[in-house]
């Protein structure tokens, strides 16, 4: 079904607009201290100032680079580890307590030990982002890879495909929808971890700016940076959705067919 552009915009951003309006009214009503809770319009003005500053844009890109770079490595590592672990039930069982233990560690918790290991620099931020993002990708990938469709495998074997070909031509494509669920969760965690690491241990990036603005009581700037983090999340999700549509459009159409059936 095609909707008009207006109805699309209303459905996509209507909720945000109502939220912003309530915020504006509450902030201006005098019920709260405007110093700590500035109106949305004032935050938007601050955002406009930030985005015109080259230094801010540098910091924005720095954070994006750390999140995306770490995410990319986490995707490769998570899927690679899953391919190895999917071959052996024993290995999966042995890895599983480690995974459950490590995946609940909040990114800031591993900052100190990571500083000892990597010092302060790109390696540190990448490590923390990878650490945060890799687990959901691994877990989804290994679950999907370890539970292939037996009829698909039997068919491929009868056609003369070997184990490696079956992995790359049958099991991996079949697992992609579930892997993408992991990547989507991982992408949010990657951004979260990048900002958190920057708050604790960086002088650049949105996290560092946010920390600085917050504790120097530049409240409008602080909110403005928080909004930029939020917008980054929306853009990152859109990026993942685009790649997903490109790689597993068949699955999206198949799922949509189920919804309308």
């Amino acid at each position: 079904m095609k909707q008009s552009a207006t109805s699309y915009i209303v459905r996509k951003f209507g909720g945000l607009a109502v939220f912003a309006l309530i915020w504006e009214v509450v902030s201006r009503s005098g019920l709260v201290l405007q110093d700590y809770f500035p109106p949305v319009t004032a935050i938007l003005v601050a955002m406009g100032e930030e985005i015109r500053s080259a230094k801010f844009v540098d910091n924005l890109f720095t954070t994006w680079g750390r999140a995306l770079g770490g995410l990319a490595i986490a995707i490769v590592l998570g899927i690679g580890l899953a391919i190895i672990a999917a071959r052996s039930y024993v290995l999966r069982r042995m890895l599983s307590p480690f995974v459950d233990m490590l995946r609940v560690l909040p990114p800031p918790a591993i900052v100190p030990i990571s500083i000892f290991a990597f010092g302060i620099g790109t390696k540190l931020y990448l490590f923390i982002v990878i650490f945060a993002a890799v687990w959901p990708i691994y877990i989804n990938a290994v679950n999907a890879l370890a539970a292939p469709e037996p009829v698909q495998i039997a068919t491929a074997r009868s056609m003369g495909y070997g184990d490696d070909e079956i992995l790359y031509r049958v099991r991996l494509p079949a697992a992609l929808p579930e892997i993408f669920t992991g990547i989507r969760i991982g992408s949010g965690l990657a951004l979260l971890a990048a900002v958190a690491a920057e708050m604790i241990a960086a002088s650049s990036g949105l996290g560092a700016l946010l920390y600085d603005a917050g504790f120097t009581l530049r409240v409008k700037d602080m909110f403005a940076i928080m909004f930029f983090v939020g917008i980054s999340g929306i853009l990152l999700n859109a990026l993942v959705a685009t790649v997903r549509r490109w790689l597993i459009g068949w699955h999206i159409d198949l799922a949509a067919m189920g919804e309308h059936a």
């Binding site: 068919t155 003369g160 068949w250 067919m257």
Partner: protein, 263 residues
Amino acid sequence: MTSILSAHGVGKSFGSHAIIRDLTFNAREGEFISVAGPSGCGKTTLLMCIAGLLKLDVGSVEFQGQKISEPPPGLAVVFQDYSRSLLPWKSNMENVVFGMKRLENLSAKEKHERGAEILSSVGLRGFEKHYPWQVSGGMQQRVAIARALAANSKLLLLDEPLAAVDAQTRADMQDLLLELAAKYKQTCLLVTHDVDEAVYLADRVIVLSNRPTHVIEEIEVPLKSPRDQIATRSDPIFLDLRARILSRIKSLKGPGGNADMPH
């Protein structure tokens, strides 16, 4: 006619469950064989063993004079569950081309030409670019059959290929199978729980016992070809064979109880 497939003294167990014991039969080149037997008697296991997908415990299966130990070239399998055997991320054409793994001397273009020809002969011209899940169940099974033929096989193993399609489609597909078997010179081994279908399609029906299963009777089907859904099914020979096989299967007391009921 020369023998293309021979199973000799085949035995297979899963743990302490004996599924097949001392099963022996031959298939002649170009023959259409139906394998009928009570539910759960191990027909599918037998097919997997013949396909080289399961290892035998004892005995041997020879295909074109070679002992089978892994899936051999020249042998293709069509499973009952087409929705799970077709690859949903590939179009119908790509699924058929996927079946041409062993035709290494063909270029991609030649594979697509061959795919188009085979899809057209199973009645799917114009559906090459559709995904399997965009077409009906009967059409999906046609894609799976086309994919099996695409491998340029000699022997087609059919594991209840029509059990999941509706009755009308089923009759059409039975005739299509006979037509394709003749056109592509296939030897067919069809596993079915439907005795009518077994007799209608076959040159010979092999009746299996309960588990551990073995051949209890081989019945030649002297019905004339081409078969016809109305004439053949009302032929006294058909009715006689059908009754004979049904009562033979029914007489087997087994774990399944209702021996002629689909599982």
